[in-house]
Amino acid sequence: MLNQRARAVKYGRRANNSFIVFRCADVDVLDCSVPQYNNRLDTPLPDVPFVRNLGADQKKLKEKEKGAWTSLSKEEKLALYRLSFELTYPEMKRGSGEWKTVLGGIFFFLGFTGLLVWWQRFSVFGDVPHTLSPEWVEQQTQRMLDMRVNPVHGFSTKWDYEKKQWK
């Protein structure tokens, strides 16, 4: 028991708020058999207030709440709100900056892949076949024209056989 209390002090915030936990094998386990606090846009009033274990000041404030609210200052009203609720609606809806991390990671790894591909090109791949050399391609093209490859709409129609040049 004493051990537990010491640990509760260590996780001070968790002891005060409504994550109702119990200790099991040195780990704080959420007790799902009791109502828990939650921040949800569609549930404005959760089952339990956020702060359950009130300090002396907070108890005094709660007593003051029973009187006329017109006598409360703005800070006190805000404090009462924060006792019951962890996040305000704008805080719940606030986005994170995670997308920047994701996009940056994508670009980084794309760049890294590009480096790998470039290195591969001059370090891993051998020479291209000799049939792609300019001399070979020239002779090959001449042979295709002599054969009249695709003479109706295709390749040979682009060669002017009279003037011996491309159209």
């Binding site: 846009l41 709440e65 009462l80 709100y81 305000t88």
Partner: protein, 148 residues
Amino acid sequence: MTKKRLVMFRAAVRLSVSGVRSLTRSRPQYAAPLAARCYSHGKQETDEEFDARWVSYFSKPDIDAWELRKGMNTLIGYDLVPEPKILEAALRACRRLNDLGSAIRILEAVKDKAGPHKEIYPYLIQELRPTLNELGISTPEELGIDKA
């Protein structure tokens, strides 16, 4: 001009002319008689009956905290922004339960319910202003929690 009219009129007025959803109801734009609708059997509740039911729910003198929470969470689950009179009854219920935090939370919740229709929330606050002043409830704007 439509915006001004929204603020001035009571919420029960349908705004089907401008094509904008009515202020606090999302209903079909054509007000067909119930017999012609293809709903399941039984009478469909009118807006006024709906409002009256919820006002009387929150007006229970000895309402308890659970009932307040259940009522509010259910109401927020509907596809509509509650009428000022329902909210007034809910705020008074918070007062009976000595729960200022919940009162402010309710105001935040209806602002969120209005969604992209930014003219609804100022209208609600305008209608609730006497109650807010009487009970001493500050709006989220006055407390500075309307910005993240």
